[in-house]
Amino acid sequence: MNRRNFFAGAAAGMAATGVSRVALAALPEPAMQAGNATAPPLVPPNGRPYQPVVTLNGWTAPWRMNGGVKEFHLVAEPVVREMAPGFKVNMWGYNGQSPGPTIEVVEGDRVRIFVTNRLPEHTTVHWHGQRLPNGMDGVGGITQPQIPAGKTFVYEFTARRPGTFMYHPHADEMVQMAMGMMGFWVTHPKARHPLIDEVQRDFCFLLNAYDVDPGSMTPRVNTMLDHNIWSWNSRVFPGIDTLNVRHRDKVRIRVGNLTMTNHPIHLHGHEFTVTGTDGGPVPPMARWPEVTTDVAVGQMRQIEFLADEEGDWAIHCHKSHHTMGAMGHDVPTMIGVDHSGLVKKIQKLVPDYMVMGERGMADMGEMPMPLPDNTHPMMAGQGPYGPAEMGGMFTLLKVRREQPPGSYADPGWFRQPAGTQAYEFGGSPPPAASVAAPAQPQAALPSVRKPSGHSGH
């Protein structure tokens, strides 16, 4: 677990923004976060009690009670997020990290959020999914003036309905979201809610995507879909923490999508139900079992299941490119291409050249090759049995009998009981002839050739 730098360095930072001492006296000091590990759940020290969530590779913002109002302080600022060990990206975030801290409140709480803008341009915060007064909705130019650089604005409203929400800018949002401005918001029910079950584990993360050119540090904000870094809470596998639960825990996972494409989130070994969306809890009669749920752009999904199967279970986006690190999208398929006689020729010109992709891309996971600086490998994940050949929106649900209640510590790799793992067949393999040979297009050409408009001329 990492250390939290609550209140650290805030005064100096505040002074730099030129906020008056009167205003400073009224502002709660912002809690900053330097690390990127998963913080333990923040058990509410005051206010109405609730069962806290765990933010994957993130944390929950502490608050101050002020006359019955929960006061938070978000500081929008440039940050450096380590998306995987050694892979650092210049982002814009809140309170030292991107995404910003999760805000957890209870249904009916009066909430006051101070937002200080330390970005080079103006910003706003939109409280995605909340019922609130129109003037608090954070759409720059429409419901409020933008928060100029160096200024602090205050948002105040009542968290009226329980559910899973997000916050993100609604000012120059294309740039600001591409740079990582976003955070999670959870409103817990104030009492037992007929549609919201008690759970033992409650995880949340945001889906985000960046285009970081290999060897660079700042995302390309103009990329619309061809991103090469697909992340959860701005972390990429194997830099993402695992979801560690006790066997037979009831688990809730909340997922919000702030990328520009949908992500089918798939869980192995269990069925789950989607128990909530941005709109609130799903009525029981409308729920159905799933192993994959598609989280569309700008949506939230809240899934729940009983973790009754021990093991290390993959949970990932089912778009296979999204479980990859940085890769070239213009690289042609090299499978089956004969390189004989050419490798030496190329090596004469490029001494460090090695053949890759001739048999597929698994080579990439097997042999680590030097890459440009600050580049997350395409496939970097390693498991107990070899390369996992993945590197993006992927992590593991670790279900263990021996996991203590309430402990989020990583129990390590699962040891499958004897006789419960795939094994090599002991008999003789099938004859080679039955293995499908690669298609020979030139042989097939005459039969599939279309009549040419030029023939006979």
Partner: protein, 470 residues
């Protein structure tokens, strides 16, 4: 001005006139002294007129030919230079002839009229020719001096031309090697593309694009090969080689750039002080000035013949003979031509020679400045290529390998970048070549003679920028 007649001088002239003889080594020793330190940085010896240079040339050709050896061979073997020395020998012969006193004329006449027969014997002597002998001998000697300077300039120019031809030949050979690498990269890409298309991974369009790269690279290589042969043949001609001797080997690369260059100072003064063409013009002008006295002296009387006649008349009828002796002086009467035209011509020649000195000096100063700037720029450019562009290109290529490693870039992108890299190295070679050419021109300009038109620095292909895709 000297008096026309002085007995002692006359005797001395007669004595000297008999002694003048052609130079035994065709002035090669003197020319070697004149060109010392001016033959493209090598101490090159000039062969004696009848020397057999074959063994020495063969020895120099036994190993790869460096620039110094090339210059030495050219000075031994170049046919043009041999012609130049022959011209000098002709001039020398003129000098020798001019130094001899004019031969006396003997005329015999036989005239018959009836029984009378007259035999006339005249011995005549061009007195003026004898009297002006010192001037003419000196004049011709000066012509020989000028011819020597001319031959020395030919030596300097040949040395510079040979060195430049050698630089071009080596660079062209190296360039062809690089373009072969470019062709190889394109060939590999095209072959891989063919195999890609064969297994169905690529369309014929994509394959054709790689094929087009290869076709283009092949054409470039053909041009480079032709340029290599042309540069080498030019050197071969300057070396005066043929047959098996023309199969000499050249070194694989040009000499490296000097680590630091010694900046020449006062280039204009140095050129004026050391250049042979400046010296030649100044000497010529001085000689013309000196010859004005001769022209003035002979302006009125430009011929003076003294003859002794013995006339014997036989009268056959009378059987007696009668002899008459006497002498005769013949000289033109300055009635119409008082020598003004001759004087004016001499004056004109003098003014012409002074103007020529001015022109040569202006040219030498200007060429010195231009050659110096060209040399300095060529050096800076060559260093820029060596220290900036080539390392950058290499770094870019290394980074492309890393991108290829991560499957972030294809092998074709890598090969395309490699082509760019090789072309940048080739541009660096061209810059290095241009420096050595400029260096040769600077040496020639400051200490030898006019190098002819100074070349503009060749502009090379852009070396920066990202490799363009397909």
């Amino acid at each position: 001005m000297r008096p026309l007649l002085r007995p002692g001088l006359l005797a001395a002239v007669l004595a000297l006139a008999g002694c003048a003889a052609p130079s035994p080594d065709g002035y090669r020793g003197e020319i070697a002294a004149l060109t010392a330190g001016k033959t493209a940085g090598v101490a090159a010896a000039l062969p004696a007129p009848d020397a057999d240079t074959g063994p020495l040339v063969a020895e120099l050709l036994a190993q790869p030919l460096d620039a110094g050896a090339a210059v030495r061979i050219a000075l031994l073997n170049n046919p043009g230079l041999r012609a130049s020395f022959a011209t000098l020998a002709i001039s020398d012969a003129e000098r020798v002839r001019a130094g001899r006193a004019p031969n006396p004329h003997f005329a015999l006449g036989r005239f018959a009229e009836g029984d009378r027969l007259e035999i006339e014997r005249v011995l005549s002597f061009n007195v003026l020719g004898l009297l002006t002998l010192p001037w003419r001998a000196e004049w011709q000697g000066r012509q020989t001096e000028l011819a020597k300077l001319q031959a020395a300039q030919d030596v300097v120019r040949l040395a510079a031309e040979t060195r430049k031809a050698w630089i071009r030949a080596v660079a062209a050979q190296q360039s062809a090697g690089y373009l072969r690498d470019v062709r190889d990269a394109a060939e590999t890409g095209a072959e891989l593309a063919r195999r890609m298309a064969r297994v169905g991974n690529w369309s014929r369009l994509q394959q054709a694009r790689e094929q087009a790269f290869l076709a283009d690279a092949t054409a470039q290589l053909a041009r480079a090969e032709q340029a290599r042969v042309a540069a080498r043949e030019r050197l071969t001609r300057l070396l005066g080689l043929w047959g098996t001797q023309a199969q000499y080997a050249l070194p694989e690369r040009l000499p490296d750039l000097p680590a630091a260059v010694v900046e020449p100072t006062e280039v204009e003064a140095q050129a004026l002080r050391q250049r042979l063409d400046v010296k030649s013009a100044v000497d010529e002008s001085r000689y013309v000035a000196q010859s004005l006295g001769y022209v003035r002296a002979t302006g009125v009387i430009n011929a003076l013949d003294l003859s002794y006649t013995r006339n014997t008349t036989f009268d056959n009828a009378r059987g007696d003979k009668e002899a008459k002796r006497g002498w005769e002086v013949e000289l033109p009467l300055p009635l119409f031509d008082w020598g003004q035209a001759g004087n004016a011509r001499a004056q004109g020649l003098y003014l012409q020679s002074v103007a020529r000195v001015q022109a040569v000096a202006v040219q030498a100063r200007s060429e010195a400045r231009e050659a110096y700037l060209g040399w300095r720029t060529a050096y800076d450019l060559a260093r820029h290529y060596r220290d900036e562009i080539v390392p950058l290109r290499r770094f870019i290529n290394d980074e492309m390998v890393l991108r290829y490693n991560g499957m972030l870039a294809s092998v074709w992108a890598l090969l395309a970048d490699t082509r760019q890299n090789v072309l940048a190295v080739n541009s660096a070679l061209e810059a290095q070549r241009d420096f050595w050419l400029a260096d040769t021109d600077l040496q020639t300009t400051l200490s030898g003679t006019s190098p002819g038109a100074l070349p503009a620095l060749a502009s090379s292909a852009a070396a920066g920028g990202e490799p363009q895709g397909h």
